[in-house]
Subunit: 131 residues, 2 copies
DNA sequence: ATTTTGATGTAAGAAAACCTAACATGTTAT
DNA sequence: ATAACATGTTAGGTTTTCTTACATCAAAAT
């Protein structure tokens, strides 16, 4: 656990800025939250505050969506990519999609034109904006 | 001119976040702007938006203030630290403080207890928050 | 060929966050 | 004692964001 990681999770950006950075509408961002793909922090006054990680995540969501994957599928995929490498193999629990369903999804992705297995995460890493 | 510099100047943070990051009150931040020590961007609706550079600058201001330097002095000092190394020597124009005044200021700084010449810029570099 | 579903747009009303301007307060310097 | 400086506080107004609800449009299912 590399201490300095805390910073990428620091809630910093209001939705207006995130809209610009990720090129998404407020509606889209809130919809993804509604479907539990992201869970931005909130101010005392209930305004959303996004971290750098949140924004990276939104870019991944955007990417996966463009590949024709739906909320459920994206949720599943992000859930895996979220785990620490250690857990990643061990924890294969609580699938909200049956294996059958996931297989169908992935098959669909395979058949989609263009980019194949380049959904290898870090789709649009926000770190390009800094330093 | 290293191209990627653009990003540190990107207006991203509303004043509420900056208050936390720099540990300054809104009043203080606006006061420094009033005295032209910073010039944050504005949204279409006139809300201030600060860049990483702006926040670094605020931390420098805070540091200099704690050393007993006033607005005019800080403005002068930051003006110098702002220049690119190339210009820095060439451009010694339009001092809004006389040389006498500046000398007095710097003498005062020298005599202040504690930290001496550690005002060597990059006082509280914000980059520590990222990566 | 309809009907459903999934993702997004849009509108309305309320509340939070921010804005400027003005006056108040506590130091430090003259 | 007065003046200058940095900051606090209050007031009234505007922008941004919030939730909720309904509308739209394409793709999938029937």
């Amino acid at each position: 656990m590399g201490g300095s990681e805390i910073r990428r999770t620091m809630p910093l950006f209001p939705i207006g800025i995130v809209m610009q950075l990720a090129d998404l509408s407020a509606r889209q961002i809130r919809y993804y939250e509604e479907h539990e793909l992201i869970a931005p922090a909130r101010t005392e006054g209930n305004r959303r505050l996004f971290s750098l990680n949140d924004i990276d995540r939104l870019l991944e969501i955007k990417d996966l969506l463009e590949q024709g994957i739906n909320m459920a599928g994206i949720k599943k995929i992000l859930a895996v990519s979220q785990k620490e490498p250690a857990e990643r193999d061990t924890v294969a629990k609580k699938p909200e999609l049956t294996d059958d369903e996931l297989r169908t999804l992935l098959k669909k992705e395979m058949l989609s034109p263009g980019k194949i297995s380049r959904s290898s995460l870090r789709a649009g890493d926000l770190s390009r904006f800094f330093r």
